[in-house]
Symmetry: C2
Subunit: 150 residues, 2 copies
Amino acid sequence: MTDLDIAEVARRTGVPPSTLRYYEERGLIASTGRRGLRRQFDPGVLERLGLIALGRSAGFSIAEMTRMFTPLGRPEIDRRVLAARADEIDRTIRELTAVRDSLRHAAECPAPSHLECPTFRRLVRTAAAGASRAAPRPALPRRRRAAEAG
Amino acid sequence: MTDLDIAEVARRTGVPPSTLRYYEERGLIASTGRRGLRRQFDPGVLERLGLIALGRSAGFSIAEMTRMFTPLGRPEIDRRVLAARADEIDRTIRELTAVRDSLRHAAECPAPSHLECPTFRRLVRTAAAGASRAAPRPALPRRRRAAEAG
DNA sequence: GTTTCACTTCAAGCCGACTTGAGGTCAACG
DNA sequence: CGTTGACCTCAAGTCGGCTTGAAGTGAAAC
């Protein structure tokens, strides 16, 4: 048997065992069995975890990915869903570009206080409008501590 | 007095009263007083809330913004902090661009299953590497229900 | 055969940014 | 002067994605 121990999977992917157990519990990955207590995984889980990482980066929730992945491990994903998410990411990129530009402007603007700068005031008003018009969401992810990967 | 009632501020900004109270509690905004029970705000709070919206979009936490804003309402923000955040957003944009391209590819790739497509496999491996190398963070914000703004 | 110790389960905790609910108050309207 | 109802406070709840802690187990090393 070429199966991998959970510790080995963790080591090779950088995904902590607790997360692997959590993913299994949520139905995102499946273990092939146990050696004693320890979960064993098919090596294909490595690629699957890569896919999951990609999905997470794309903003899919665990629940969504569970739905997208068929039970048998072959993700037969609706291509329209992917295209729609790509479009959504495009929109986010545009928003972030605007925010970045605001920040750069604020960083470089010579006005003594930012609020005295007409350009910045306009940018702020735009942000406010966007915030109330669309959704009160943080356009950027929470920043976390980096995980030291193996 | 030209002060605005909390309800008026909520109406004009789309920020719910509960959030305004929360912001005040966290020291992000200050009310000028009360009319009876009701908080009154200087009209300047509108611009400040715009600034807060911009900051949130830029990924600053409430705590960070509280630190950035001086007590007197004039955000005297360290320009290096802004520039650094702009750079960080730039990095996020590049990540998201890669993810978006992966999704588009997956949406258009004719391979019967995505994992049979070499290009996609490569992209997935990249995502996995990125995920373990940097931080296991969702590169995209949680999507929430939109707030119907006034 | 005993110890070791990484794994196991299960429930609970954490984080951030708010929201919600219960119970209270007070300006204004009639 | 009484009712109304939007505000108030404070504590607790929500959401997602995990992590953590206590208590248990079993394969492997000695």
